[in-house]
Symmetry: C3
C-alpha cells in the first residue's frame, strides 16, 4: 500500500470518529481504566466498561469495535473474557487484545490459550508481549529466530518484527507493537510511526489507552488503518505535550488535550515509514 | 418555593459541607471512582468507597448520605447493592441512585427491580435513564406520553420532565436530570440550572461525580436542596473552567479547582429558573 | 543514628531507584490505584497491580518490595491478601501494609488478625490506624496510654508515637505515621519529617500513594530508610506544588511533576528531626 493511500484512510478514520462518536466497549484493567475512557472520549469516541459476559454481549452487539486488556486479572475474568471473545469473534466484531503480562500466572495463561479459538482483529502490545503471544499461539514458522528468543523487557520493536508479521498473518488482522518507535503490520505491509515522548514511560496507561483508542478507530476502519491511525495520533499528541511540560503529571493532562485537538490532516502528517514485505 | 428561599438553602448547604466535611460513602463504578472521590473532597466533603454489604452498613450507619452508582457491574453487586439499599432505606438514610445502563443486562435489571422496595431519596441520571427507570418502576400515570417513548440517547431533558416529576413523586424525594440544562424536581417544584461546558461530555465521570457530590450535600440538606446545590456548583465550576482550557485533560483539572474555590454565595448565584407545578 | 547518616542513606536510596527502576507490585484499592502507580513511576520505580494470589507470588518473587493496601475490600481479598502476606513474609520480602479502615467490617478485621503471623516490614497509616493496629496485634505494653485510647480521626501523630514505637518493635521493621507532620520510627530512632500541603487532605490517595512509593524505596533500602525517604520526597513535592496552584485538581498534577523532579540531595535536604529513644 502506498503511503498516500494510508494517509487518505487515516484522514477518513479520524473524520468519521469525530463525526459519529462510535462506542468501543472495554473489559480492561482497573489501574488505567479511567485513562482508557478519557483517551477514547478525547479522540471523539465513546466508552463503556464492563466485567460481565452478558453485558459484553449486549455492548458488543451495539458496536463494531471492542477492547480486551488483561492487565489486572480478577477471578470473574476466567469466564467473562473468553465468553466475550467468543461472542465477538463469532459475530464478526473487530476486537483488540492487549495481552498484558502474557506468561505470568495460571489464570492469565489459561485464558490466552482458550482465546486462540476466537482471534482478535488487532493485537496491541509491547515487543516482548508480541513475541510471547506469537510463540504461545504457534504463529511462527519452524526455526524462526523469534521463536527461540525468550520474553525480556529489553526486547526492541525491531526484534519483534518477524513475530508481529507472523502473528498478524495468523489472526488475519493487524499487530501494533509499541515502543520508542511503533511498528504496525497486517502481515503484508509494515509501518513505523515516529514521535511520542519519554514521559509516556513515566505515566501508567499510555499503552492501555492506545489499545482503547485503536478499538475506537476499528469501529470505522479496517484493523490495519485503525492501528496506524491510533499510533500516529499518540505519537503526535505525545510529542506536542512533551515540549510543554516539566513532569509526568502535566504530561498526562496536556497529552489528553492534544489528543482532542489533533485534526485529521495532522494525524495523517505525523511522520511514518512504509515497507512492503 | 420562591427562588430566594432556594438560594438561602443552597448557601446553608454549601457552608455546612465546608464546615462539617460530611462523609458520603459510595458503591460506585471503577471507571470514575477516583473522580467521584476527588469531587466530593473538592466541595468539602469526605469519601469512602466499598464493595461489601457489611461495610456498606457500617459506613452507611455513620452518615446521612450514600451514593450507589451502577456503572460497572460485578457479580458481587447482585447481593451487595440490594442489601445496602435495604439497610439505607430502612434506616432513613438519604441515598442517591445513579441507574447507569438501566435496560442493559440481566444482573443490572434484576437489581433495579428489587431496589424498588428500598427507594432512594434522589435519582441522578440523564434523560433517557430517568425515563427508563420511571417506566420500570411504574411511576407514570396510565397513558402518559413518556411511558410509550423508548430509551434513546437523543432524549432531551425537556422530554424527561414528566417522567422526572412522576418518579420524584413515587420515591417521595428528588430527581436530577443531567443534560445541557439540568432539571431538578421534587414533584412539586421544577428547577432548571444553567452553565457547564461542552467538555463535560468529553471527560468520563462528570455525571457520576455529580451523583457523589449530591450525596455529600444530602448529608446536610433535604433531597431537593441537595440536588439543586450540586447541579449549581457543577454548572458554575464547569463554565469557569471552560474559558481557561484548550482540551478535556486541562478541563478536568481546572474543574476540580473551581469546585473547591466556589463559595456559598457563588453557588446560590449560578443562573437557575424555578417553576411551580 | 545521626542525621548525616540518615541523609547519606536517603541520597543512596533515591539514586538507586532512579538508576534501577525497581518494581514494587501492589494489591491496592480501586479508588486510588492509578495515583499509586503514577507516583511510583514518578519517583523512578515501576508498578504492577494484581488481585490474585498466584500473581502476587509470581510478582513478589521478582521484587524485594511489595505494597498491600486494604482500602476497598472485595470478597476475593479474604484469601488473596493473607496468601500474599504469607508468601512475602516467608520469602523475606519487605512488604508495606496500609491497614485502611482497621476496625471496620468483618472481612477486613479477619484478614488483619490473620496477617499478624506474616508481619510486614513497614506499616504506613494515619495516627488512628496505627493505634488501632498496634492494639489489635497486642504490640503495646500493659497499661500504656495508647492501648486505652479509642480510634478517633482527631488523633494526632504525637499521640500515636508510643503505639508506633511498640508496633515497630513488634514487626521488627518501621512504622510511618502520616499527618501534618510525618513520624517514622524503627523502635529505636524517631524521625519527624516536615513540609507537605493542605491540599494533600483534599485529594484522594496521598496516603495510599505514599505507601506505594515507600515500597519502591524498600526495594533498595532498609525499612526505616525507605520510610524516611518516602516521607521526605512527599513533603518536598507537596510544599513545592502548594505554592503554584489554586486548588486540588492542579495540586495533584504539579505534585506528580515535583515527585519526578526531586533529586537525591533535594530529598535528603527536606527538613526533618531525629530523636534517639
Amino acid at each position: 500500500m502506498k503511503k498516500e493511500e494510508i494517509q487518505r484512510k487515516i484522514i477518513d478514520a479520524v473524520k468519521r470518529v469525530k463525526a459519529e462518536n462510535p462506542m468501543a466497549p472495554s473489559m480492561t484493567n482497573n489501574v488505567t481504566i479511567n485513562l482508557v475512557a478519557n483517551a477514547q472520549l478525547a479522540v471523539g469516541g465513546s466508552a463503556a466498561m464492563t466485567y460481565l459476559d452478558d453485558e459484553a454481549e449486549a455492548l458488543g452487539g451495539m458496536s463494531d469495535g471492542f477492547y480486551i486488556n488483561m492487565g489486572t486479572m480478577m477471578p470473574v475474568y476466567r469466564d467473562t473474557f473468553v465468553k466475550a471473545a467468543k461472542f465477538l469473534s463469532e459475530n464478526g466484531k473487530k476486537w483488540v487484545l492487549d495481552p498484558v503480562g502474557v506468561g505470568m500466572g495460571d489464570v492469565r495463561m489459561d485464558i490466552l490459550r482458550r482465546m486462540k479459538d476466537y482471534k482478535p482483529a488487532i493485537v496491541r502490545a509491547n515487543a516482548s508481549e508480541v513475541m510471547a503471544l506469537s510463540a504461545l499461539w504457534g504463529a511462527e514458522e519452524e526455526g524462526s529466530a523469534a521463536t527461540a528468543r525468550g520474553v525480556d523487557s529489553t526486547d526492541t520493536v525491531d526484534a519483534a518484527e518477524q513475530a508481529a508479521v507472523s502473528l498478524a498473518r495468523l489472526i488475519g488482522g493487524a499487530v501494533e507493537v509499541s515502543g520508542e518507535v511503533d511498528l504496525i503490520t497486517d502481515g503484508k505491509t509494515v509501518v513505523r510511526s515516529y514521535g511520542g515522548s519519554k514521559y509516556m514511560e513515566m505515566i501508567t496507561g499510555a499503552g492501555c489507552s492506545l489499545g482503547g483508542v485503536t478499538a475506537v478507530y476499528a469501529c470505522v476502519a479496517d484493523p490495519f488503518t485503525a492501528a496506524v491511525t491510533a499510533a500516529n495520533v499518540y505519537n503526535l499528541a505525545g510529542r506536542a505535550a512533551d515540549g510543554e511540560v516539566q513532569g509526568p503529571g502535566s504530561f498526562q493532562v496536556r497529552f489528553l488535550d492534544h489528543l482532542y485537538m489533533a485534526g485529521p490532516e495532522d494525524v495523517a502528517a505525523n511522520p511514518f515509514d512504509v515497507k512492503e514485505l
